[in-house]
Amino acid sequence: ACGGTNGTPLDQPTDGAPAATAAAGSITVGSANFPESELLMNIYAGALQAKGVNVTTRPNIGSRETYIPALKDGSINLVPEYTGVLMQYFDQSATATAPDEVYAALQQHVPDGLKVLAKAEAEDKDSVVVTRETATQHNLKTIADLAPVAGDMVLGGPPEWRTRETGVPGLKRVYDLTFKEFRPLDTAGPLTVQALKNGQVQAANLFTTDPNVAANDFVALEDPKSLFAAQNIVPLIAADAATDQVTQTLDAVSAALTTENLAAAVKEVVIDRKDSAAVADAFLTTHELK
């Protein structure tokens, strides 16, 4: 939750009503409660601000189940999202997995008043991760390999995984995995990393861009049945906030985002502990978005 010294205004409304609707040239960008989302929020915010839009940020709102209603009731107008999970959020039965199919399905299911803009090439998928030791011991490469051992394993993940399609229920349906227990932790944050290291959980949900995976020599299991659909970064925006200028700006950002440059930026924030806003700013400068 670090606003930068430039780019991201800090006059976060604590004493008045938030911008209820995006008045011309003003927009509130929110983020979920993990660093990558916040970074993307800062990137969006910085880019928009460079174009003269009056931007307010609302980092760390929580999970999708919280910020989507916030988007609907006008507390925020824009939030960075992931195509796959968002599609499943709006349509439990969605089955598309390939990036473009997912994006198309998503566009179809986005409720009235909201819309998604152009997706980025950059992807950050959910993944099921185990320690190198566990992987070697049980010879695990894919999620499917977990089937014989899942009954002895505790799965760790964000609380919403207990009920979310791309969580415990999906793992059961798609891979027929029944874990001994599901342990709610945080959204791919330090608790999850820590719990995995400690052996409190044997498998956990982390993101593919998470620098901790490499840092701790974890193994991200492959997802052959594409439970976790394509997860391209995409701006989810309130329809009335999506002016041409905003749309063009965000499209430009999406065009610049790749999995690699996003992962590198996230690493700078999480591992090198740079400020999210500063990293966003550098990203925008590098890609000539400001």
């Binding site: 670090c2 938030p18 209820a20 409660n33 660093p35 709102i61 925020i76």
Partner: protein, 224 residues
């Protein structure tokens, strides 16, 4: 330390936001607790429910209150008003009891003397009861202020920005520096508030410091 120095601006903004979220409800809560406390003393059968009932409010987890409030009162989900209202409720929860205790502590013979002199109703309350209850009420307000500073930080979990945001930020990155800074800032803020309240209450109650001139003998001698 370097992190601290590099983020002075941010910390300042957070501290200000935090202070507002803690202090505004404190004042509003106090303003509401005084009439409620008065009522609790005035109507004997209301006393137990009011004191115990408001006390029970306090055991409601703040996170739940922050989130459930919009559903109950129809505010927007991320509206800081939710936090302000929740904090006001907590303040009332603490202060009603204090106000009642403070009014209880007003010496009966003073109250009596006031009545006998022809004070009545609200005027007596304002001129006699309330000022005399100030020391006890101030003690309660100190507790409430410190407690508010602490509780407000929980609002970071629902994205309301204040010093508590340093906790979530640090935690998300397993980064101790912001957390430590946040903790220190919270404690300092609490101490400053505490000091302000102490000073205010001292200014309001000059008589509590007025003690007999040294020795009983002097005072007794003065009587002759």
């Amino acid at each position: 330390m370097t992190w601290f120095l590099e983020h002075l601006d941010l910390i300042g903004h957070y501290a200000w936001a935090h202070a507002k979220l803690a202090v505004v409800p404190l004042l509003v809560g106090l303003a509401l607790a005084i009439p409620i406390g008065w009522l609790a003393r005035q109507v004997p059968w209301l006393r137990a429910p009011l004191v115990a009932g408001t006390g029970l409010l306090y055991t409601l987890p703040s996170l739940a209150v922050f989130i459930l409030l919009p559903g109950l009162i129809g505010t927007q989900i991320l509206d800081p008003l939710n936090v302000l209202i929740a904090m006001t409720l907590y303040t009332i929860a603490l202060l009603v009891r204090t106000v009642v205790d403070g009014l209880d502590a007003v010496p009966e013979d003073v109250r009596l003397a006031a009545t006998a002199m022809g004070y009545r109703g609200v005027r007596r309350f304002v001129a006699v009861d309330l000022p005399l209850a100030v020391p006890v009420i101030a003690a309660g307000v100190r507790v409430a202020a410190v407690s508010n500073v602490s509780i407000v930080s929980v609002a970071a979990l629902i994205g309301v920005q204040q010093l508590g945001s340093l906790f979530t930020d640090g935690f998300n990155r397993a980064f101790a520096a912001p957390i430590v800074v946040g903790l220190v800032a919270c404690v300092l803020l609490a101490l400053i508030l505490d000091l302000l309240i102490v000073v205010t209450s001292r200014v309001l109650t000059p008589w509590t410091r007025a003690r007999r001139q040294p020795g009983r003998a002097v005072a007794a001698g003065g009587a002759r």
